[in-house]
Symmetry: C2
Subunit: 295 residues, 2 copies
């Protein structure tokens, strides 16, 4: 039974991946040829598409058509792609491997990586003008939430804190790390999971609660995989946090403590979905997938 439900979720995830890849290609179809455009497309290849899945599944749960949710899912993934390109830069996390491929600044140059990231952010925001999403007011509500989630109080603030922590004398404590991660990855995950409720004009709070727990579990599993993971599986360098002496959920809670914490968060995430009953099956499976994944 559990396996069958996981299969249904996996099938939907594959379907979302294909749809969002096509939507991103459509959005980049008429760009002028050149290194920057090549880098933008390259940055959008692959990825787990967890954020797109959250948008599409939360929408489907309220009876919203995939065609309406898709531009929002594409915007979220374009934004996420930009953030990875910039985070990987030498002056930031200085990563040379991402999704199993050389990072954009390694493949091309720092200038191309900065510009491709910048252009992907513009592209992401432009997608909220897409009429297929629905009523103009709805699109603007989504735009506002998106700007808040990814900007100076959300994702970018979190990344700034993360960079600052690397050179700080005292490592961060658990409260500071939670706050940092809630901004850096949690805010966009929460935007994605609540997008369906916004599209349907429903109360987003249960999905927000689900997303807060899911986002933190996701980040803890990332920290766990940095210790236990395999580069061939994760597609990125592992053991980096430890080498950098960086405080993580694993360094603060221990490996088992971190894994326990992630499991508890996933149970909370599942509990938050109760109001939706059976319709939330795929979102429930996703939460389990987050701590079971090895990449």
């Amino acid at each position: 039974m559990q396996d069958a439900m996981q299969e249904v979720m996996q099938h939907r995830l594959d379907d979302v991946k294909a749809q969002v890849q096509a939507a991103l290609e459509e959005a980049m179809a008429h760009l002028p040829p050149g290194e920057m455009t090549d880098a933008m497309r390259y940055a959008c290849i692959g990825g787990k598409r967890v954020r797109a899945f959250l948008v599409m599944e939360s929408a489907r749960m309220f009876g919203i058509e995939d065609s309406a949710a898709l531009p929002v899912a594409a915007a979220v993934e374009a934004l996420h792609a930009y953030s990875l390109v910039h985070d990987d830069l030498p002056s930031m996390d200085n990563d040379d491997l991402r999704r199993g491929l050389p990072t954009v600044h390694v493949q091309w140059s720092e200038a191309t990586a900065i510009l491709a990231g910048d252009a992907l952010q513009s592209l992401a925001f432009g997608l909220f003008a897409d009429e297929r999403i629905g009523a103009a007011e709805t699109r603007l509500t989504l735009l506002q939430g998106f700007a808040e989630a990814v900007g100076a109080r959300g994702m970018v603030w979190g990344q700034a804190q993360d960079i600052a922590a690397e050179t700080a004398i005292e490592p961060l404590d658990i409260v500071a790390i939670k706050r940092l991660q809630q901004a850096k990855t949690g805010a966009l995950i929460q935007f994605s999971a609540t997008a369906g409720a916004v599209l349907a004009g429903q109360d987003p709070e249960p999905l927000a609660e689900y997303a807060r727990n899911l986002g933190l579990a996701f980040q803890i599993q990332d920290d766990v995989l940095d210790v236990t993971g395999d580069e061939a599986e994760t597609g990125k360098r592992t053991g980096k946090d430890d080498a950098a002496g960086k405080a993580t959920f694993v360094s603060l809670l221990g490996l088992e403590g971190a894994q326990d914490k992630a499991r508890k968060l996933v149970r909370n995430a599942e509990a938050a979905l109760e109001p939706y009953g059976e319709a939330a099956g795929n979102l429930r499976q996703l939460a389990r997938f987050v701590i079971e994944r090895d990449a």
Copy 2:
């Protein structure tokens, strides 16, 4: 008479500067304290505010209240500020002086400059959700035009071409430079100048024609000032293009040829304003100001 009209324009420009500075401060009022926020505020200080003026004046000409045009003007200036912060980076134009002050990466760090620029772009897009602008459909039309102007087919593409030209074997010819500048600076200037028509639901074409001529004249004068200008006046390094062996309007047309061309473009810009009669007085004066400025 001419002097009196210039004085009226200058008065309006000062008024726009004060309004847009207040609007940017309001938009950044509730950001968390830290280097990134400091850098965002720093990047938004000063500037000629030509783009904000174009938004506010094109709007006023159609009877649109300043309060409706102001969030759009603030968005344009926040976006412009982000583009300068990123353009100044070591891997891009590598500039250490801007608006008479150390550039953001010199004052703080490359990471802070990248993140502050990223956050300013998010902030700029978020401003289109502001209800004060007017009808939801109008805000979305503006959002779409803005995304197009500043993204992978507009401003960022132009900057990518500019960077590529620095390492190219053959210097650019006049056609390539015009195309580059039309994207790099022209597209956002055109968005700004036509914003008033979009806000009023009027045909934007005469303003687009005005802006195309104005934008090119503006860029030619920038090239002229790079040769004839004084660092104390311009607030940025001069003589850089020549030292870099970069093709500019001055290197291709000669100093006098470039100045003649700029004057001709300003006459074209003025001619494009004819349909608006007296109401376009300030926009007409701005075009003259562009080639008379020494900073």
